[in-house]
């Protein structure tokens, strides 16, 4: 028996599965934060979460947080350091996996969150924040994106968060989780690892502005279990991050 779930809930579950036990995770906000909490509550009880403002937690905040700087994210933290301290740990190679998102992605996993002219006119986006650092320095990165044609481009206008490139010292994009599926980026080409239930290869191709490998036997993304959904709804009771209009399942 499965409950109804939203696409974003499915994405949280997919994010959680990217975290292995005992890993050090650069967490970020929104879906990755919920994914971290879910992983802790299920298969990765010893995972550690770092936030770019300097907070280190081994469990999510007890109260809902809107930003990583919200006071409940300090309460119960194991440490509250400075930004340069956690970035130093990242640069040292102490972080196994980091989650990042962007406005645009290309087949090498480059993300753009700085500026784009894709709509014809120049659009200024907010910028990197810590994403460029996580992309550069984490052991591997997991990308989370809205799957839309204008966002999936053959080449992004500006590489805010570097993907695969020749001479990369460490890490690089491993997985891309979208509103349509989960994609393997570890080889520097985009290959569908799973499509979300009900999503067809044709839908994915139409929503992707570059070539993508979708094998015939590509499985469906495993749907959330009742326990997983219960966790997510406990952590995000109003569906602030995980609500969406498309109920599926």
């Amino acid at each position: 028996m499965t409950s109804r779930y939203t696409r974003r809930e499915l994405m949280v579950v997919a994010a959680a599965r990217e975290i292995r036990d005992h890993e050090v995770v650069f967490v970020g906000m929104r879906l990755p934060l919920l994914g971290f909490g879910l992983a802790k509550a299920t298969h990765a009880p010893h995972a550690i979460g770092l936030f770019e403002n300097g907070v280190i937690r081994d469990r999510p905040a007890e109260a809902f947080i809107y930003t990583m700087g919200d006071p409940p994210n300090i309460v119960g933290a194991v440490a509250c350091l400075g930004l340069v301290d956690v970035m130093s740990l990242l640069q040292q190679g102490r972080v196994d996996v980091g989650f990042i998102g962007g406005a645009e992605v290309d087949p090498l996993g480059n993300l753009n969150t700085t500026r784009t002219s894709s709509s014809g006119a120049l659009t200024r986006l907010p910028g990197s924040g810590g994403a460029g650092d996580i992309a550069s320095l984490a052991g591997r990165t997991v990308l989370i994106m809205e799957h839309e044609p204008r966002r999936f481009r053959e080449r992004v206008d500006y590489v805010t968060s570097p993907g695969h490139f020749p001479g990369r010292r460490r890490g690089g994009p491993a997985t891309l989780i979208t509103t349509l599926g989960v994609f393997d980026l570890s080889t520097g080409r985009v290959r569908a690892a799973s499509l979300h239930p009900g999503v067809t290869p044709q839908q994915v191709r139409e929503a992707t502005g570059f070539a993508i490998t979708i094998e015939d036997r590509t499985p469906a993304t495993a749907i959330p279990t009742a326990d997983e959904l219960a966790y997510i709804r406990h952590a995000d009771p109003d569906g602030f991050w995980t609500g969406d209009s498309m109920k599926t399942g």
Binding site: N53, L83, V84, M87, R124, G127, S128, D133, V159
Partner: protein, 304 residues
């Protein structure tokens, strides 16, 4: 050397047209909005703003026309996304064109830290392979004298003034800050002058009871301002919750130039000072946001 100032005095004396100002250093908490608004009221011009992510503080200053340049990793509205004031200035030159020096959080942190350490630069591996560091005015490729792979040198960034909101300080400027730190310490060390805004000016004995909590020694501080609630609507650990709605309200209002001007009039220009701002918020809102619970830190005994 008397350091205590009203906020109006501190801004009037220590923030000048053309200055480079670091603020919003603890990221989403402790943003010195009272100082931001006082700078707008005093109509400073041609400022350079420095910070990691700025939340809506930079956007307000840009929309008010005070800003010529931004040095930051992220400029927008954490709750809402885009900063419309920033976008209008960058995309259309409204109300004036601004120059953007893009960074990642780490590179802006290293730029401040280089200055804090008295160095011309700090090396790093971050950003290699991306466009932020390509042709960057403050970032150059360098080799490793020990034969390892090439790195980048992030040049020192020395603000004229850092503006910092903390929980408490003594009259000499020795400041206790807890909760989020972000780049607060780096900026205070790096800056030529540091304005400390605090919830409470406390007796020396309070600060000296816990010298490890003093993240900024007073001899680096150029002014101490007691301005409780001066960081609202951002949070201050143990003092104020984050007020979420004003970030969304500003986001909505700032979609149009008229909207943002109307917002600036209501919340900045038509108010004389922070006390008036808090009054305009209303006691019910203040009561909702004021932290009255206690979760004290476990005792640390400093007895010798």
């Amino acid at each position: 050397m008397k350091l205590k100032r009203s906020l109006r005095e501190a801004i009037a004396e220590q923030v000048h047209d053309g200055d480079a100002i670091a603020l919003g250093l603890a990221l989403e908490s402790g943003i010195p909005f009272a100082a931001v608004h006082e700078i707008i009221r005093q109509q400073r011009r041609d400022l350079t703003l420095i910070g990691p992510i700025s939340d809506m503080a930079f956007d307000q200053m840009i929309a008010a026309g005070t800003v010529a340049k931004v040095i930051a990793a992220w400029v927008g509205n954490v709750a809402g996304g885009s900063g419309y004031g920033f976008r209008r200035a960058y995309e259309q030159g409204q109300p004036r064109r601004i120059v953007m020096e893009d960074h990642s959080n780490f590179t802006v942190g290293l730029a401040l830290k280089a200055a804090a350490m008295g160095l011309p630069y700090l090396p790093t591996f971050t950003g290699i392979g991306g466009d932020i560091v390509r042709g960057h005015p403050r970032i150059r490729p360098i080799g490793d004298p020990f034969g390892g792979p090439d790195l980048l040198a992030v040049g020192a960034l020395r603000p004229d003034v850092a503006i910092i909101h903390v929980q408490r300080a003594d009259a000499q400027g020795n400041a206790h800050l807890w909760g989020n730190l972000g780049l607060t310490v780096e900026a205070a060390y790096a800056a030529r002058q540091t304005i400390v805004i605090c919830e409470e000016v406390v007796p020396e004995a309070v600060i000296r009871s816990d010298p490890n909590r003093t993240v900024i020694p007073g001899f680096l501080v150029s002014a101490v301002v007691e301005e409780p609630g001066g960081a609202l609507p951002s949070s201050v650990q143990g003092y104020w919750r984050r007020d979420f709605e004003p970030f969304l309200a500003y986001h909505r209002m700032s979609r149009t130039p008229e909207g943002v001007q109307s917002w600036l009039r209501e919340w900045v220009l038509d108010l004389p000072d922070r006390a008036a701002y808090l009054q305009h918020m209303g006691e019910a809102n203040l009561a909702r946001l004021r932290v009255s619970e206690r979760r004290p830190a476990a005792e640390a005994n400093f007895a010798p």
